[in-house]
């Protein structure tokens, strides 16, 4: 009898406790929730909303249905070149940066003397401001007066147009990105130094080659870091804006006049990237709706790449573990 009468009271007390606990959790999480809502959820919802609206930034938005989506995918001449360029850079530039960063990391952990000097030398370019670094590269690779082509020409080798040639502009940007690989070098060095020495000793006792030790000991141990480098590299490349814009502007000769018209992507749309389209549509053509479509495409692509890589990462971790 007393159990029967106490049960509702107990249940009520439990519910109150759970409610208090939930409230406490929410209170602790509230700073993050407010930030998430203000800086992520609201902009995301707004972007989706504006992608279906005609909005020039000044007047009142009006409903346009799928018009902006259809315009971007079918009629906006810069979209597909920018998409192709972005994917090219994601595949080639990210791969080169990771391979080169890992290679430099391995070399620097192996050398016995001058480690500090080499670390500094390889890390310094990463500290160069993107605009200054890009200007320097455009100067070095200038097909008319640049020292790189002077050396290549002197050696009897072909002298590419680099930033003025659609075929060579993306490889030139990749060289610029690889030059500033100091960030990856540092995290790879940390990961490499963290690999247990006993595993190498055991592998050596088994008579393995250097390549086999790298493939079966080093790589599985550092695979989470490799994946981190790839995922962050992909996301950074999706946002790639400053370097291609500056390189295109300087190489095209149009850099100064405030009233000058500049077509992004010089030469021949080869340096166009998706973030440049967001700017072009939103701030040069006053078409915020279409700019939102491109932003959402970027968001979806970033999510898709990340999801794909994260699934792949599960397999690598198992191999590593």
């Amino acid at each position: 009898m007393s159990t029967a009468t106490n049960a509702p009271a107990l249940a009520h007390a439990l519910r109150a406790k759970r409610r208090r606990s939930a409230l406490r959790t929410a209170a602790f999480m509230s700073p993050w929730l407010i930030g998430f809502g203000f800086f992520f959820a609201y902009p995301l919802v707004s972007t989706v909303y504006f992608s279906f609206m005609k909005y020039d930034g000044f007047g009142v938005p009006s409903f346009r249905g799928l018009g902006n989506w259809s315009y971007v995918f079918s009629d906006y001449p810069m979209f597909w070149p920018a998409m192709r360029n972005t994917l090219w850079l994601v595949v080639v530039m990210v791969t080169c940066r990771v391979v080169f960063g890992l290679g430099v990391g391995v070399l620097i952990t192996k050398i016995k003397t001058g480690t500090g000097l080499f670390r500094t030398l390889f890390y310094l370019p990463y500290l160069a401001p993107p605009v200054a670094a890009t200007l320097a590269f455009v100067f070095l690779l200038n097909p008319g007066t640049g020292p790189v082509n002077s050396v290549l020409g002197g050696l009897g080798l072909p002298t590419p147009g680099w930033f003025t040639d659609p075929t060579w502009s993306k490889p030139a940007l990749t060289m610029l990105a690889v030059w500033g690989v100091g960030d990856l070098m540092v995290i790879f060095m940390a990961a490499l130094l963290d690999v247990p020495k006993e595993q190498y000793e055991a592998a050596e006792l088994d008579g393995t080659s250097a390549w086999q030790r790298f493939r079966y000991v080093t790589l599985p141990n550092i695979s989470p870091i490799v994946m981190f480098a790839v995922v962050t590299g992909v996301i950074q490349t999706m946002q790639y804006y400053t370097q291609p814009l500056v390189a295109g502007k300087v190489a095209s000769g149009i850099i100064g006049g405030s009233g000058q018209q500049f077509e992004p992507g010089y030469p021949d749309k080869s340096t166009l990237t998706l973030p440049q389209l967001v700017y072009n549509l939103g701030f040069q053509r006053f078409d915020y709706g279409s700019a939102c479509v491109v932003a959402l495409v970027l968001f979806a692509l970033s999510m898709a790449f990340t999801a794909l890589l994260m699934r792949r990462r599960g397999g690598l971790i198992q191999a590593g573990d």
Binding site: F39, F50, D56, G57, G59, G144, V231, R313
Partner: protein
């Protein structure tokens, strides 16, 4: 995994928050402020060079002397992006008087209400603009009947030539038609190995100011038909211009060779400009080049002339491309009458216009200032004053999507001059369709 999600989220926020930061439109209303009351107005402008800023301050000092109750706060180095953000956001810290170097954006400024309609102010002040300002400058400061800006000095484009090089080549006078121009350019060109010792003229569309719309200004042309559709495939002037430019490129050495040479040029705004260094003997440029070349200490005598015209349009010789700074009033300003006093002073007061033009070597934007005895006219500068007053001088018409149609046409120009597109007619038709589609999207 959570870490990566956070990174992804951060990336998304960065890309998206860019776009969602502004959604508050506003509209201009009738001004109610007392222009005789003590007040401070804010003038946002694009000049950033110390000499230019100082010159503007001097003109504004003159205004404050004439209107002791109105104080002006100058905010410089404002480009269109910053301006648009401020006009969208509104608020009491925004500008009262606004200006832009991008005449091509007038269509957007007027049609969207980003700049206030000046008609009530002009009527109240009883200004007959046709009697004050040259027609081409009036044209590029309004859109489809809405006058939301006035010209604040102007730029006129003409031909610069190296008189010493002309003399050496036995050329007596600057060319007046494009056929003569091609002959002169070839005569002035001296090759050296696989490059040039001196190039007569850099015809490529990336040769600084040798862009499509600057060339086009010298043909009788119309970018749009009466229905507002792109006219570039129907008006033969466009095909003539593209054909002429391509032939000039081929005759002077070909696209690749010229591009390689172009890459040896210095900065357009620096002392190593190719005209100033003697790398090219003729240059299409604005009136500012004269002062810049003199400052750079060029060692040859500089000649100026209007740009050539089409062979069958010799009677139009003397015209040129025009553009300039536009100035208006922010629609959300609570001090629009005071702001109008400043706009009126800067754009119509002869002393102010002359003083500012003298200081920054621009073309004055009123008839009275153009004829003023106080205007400093260096040898060669008269050419640009005459171009500015020529009724046939022109600028591309404003469009609702700003300069997008010019950029599209320019892009086609690159493809045609480089040989990537060979069928001019089909290319122009495709480009016209693209322009129409872009404008339709912006409406």
């Amino acid at each position: 995994m959570p870490r990566n999600r956070r990174i992804t989220a951060a990336v998304a926020v960065a890309s998206i928050s860019l776009l969602a930061s502004a959604c508050t439109g506003q509209s201009g209303t009738a001004a109610t402020d007392d222009p005789d009351a003590e007040t401070t107005i804010s003038f946002w402008h694009g000049w950033s060079g110390p000499a230019e800023v100082k010159a503007l301050q001097k003109v504004v000092d003159g205004f404050e002397k004439a209107h002791p109750n109105i104080h002006v706060k100058l905010v410089g180095n404002i480009n269109d992006d910053k301006l648009n953000q401020a006009l969208r956001a509104g608020g009491s810290n925004g500008p009262d008087v606004v200006s832009s170097f991008t005449t091509a954006n007038i269509g957007k400024f007027c049609s969207s209400g980003a700049f206030a309609d000046l008609k009530p102010f002009i009527e109240k002040s009883k200004l007959d603009l046709d009697e004050i300002i040259p027609k081409p400058m009036l044209d590029y400061t309004q859109f489809e009947g809405t006058r939301c800006a006035l010209p604040l000095l102007g730029d006129a484009y003409g031909l610069y030539y190296n008189k010493d090089a002309f003399e050496k080549a036995g050329i007596k006078s600057p060319p007046k038609t494009w056929s003569e121009f091609a002959e002169v350019a070839k005569k002035l060109t001296k090759t050296k190995g696989d490059s040039y010792e001196q190039l007569g003229f850099m015809p490529n569309y990336h040769g600084y100011e040798t862009v499509v719309d600057h060339y086009m200004s010298q043909w009788d042309h119309a970018y749009f038909d009466k229905d507002g559709k792109s006219n570039i495939a129907k008006d033969p002037a466009f095909a003539e211009m593209f054909t002429y430019q391509k032939k000039l490129v081929d005759d002077l050495g070909g696209f690749e060779k010229l591009e390689k040479y172009r890459n040896t040029f210095g900065d357009e705004w620096g002392a190593k400009h190719p005209f100033q260094t003697g790398q090219v003997a003729m240059q299409l440029d604005g009136e500012w080049r004269l002062g810049m070349a003199q400052d750079a200490g060029v060692k040859f005598e500089i000649g100026t002339a209007p740009l050539p015209v089409a062979d069958d349009e010799v009677e139009d010789y003397g015209k040129g491309f025009l553009s300039g700074t536009i100035i208006g009033i922010a629609p959300q300003s609570k001090k629009q009458n005071a702001a109008w006093e400043l706009v009126k002073y800067l754009t119509t007061d002869t002393k102010a216009v002359v003083s500012f033009a003298n200081a920054i070597h621009n073309v004055p934007s009123t008839f009275a200032a153009l004829k003023s005895p106080d205007l400093k006219v260096d040898p060669g500068f008269e050419t640009f004053l005459e171009i500015a007053q020529n009724p046939k001088s022109n600028t591309p018409p404003a469009a609702v999507n700003g300069s997008a149609y010019q950029v599209t046409l320019q892009d086609f120009g690159y493809q045609y001059e480089s040989g990537k597109v060979k069928d001019l007619k089909a290319g122009l038709e495709k480009t016209a369709a693209q322009i129409d589609r872009d404008i339709e999207q912006a409406k």
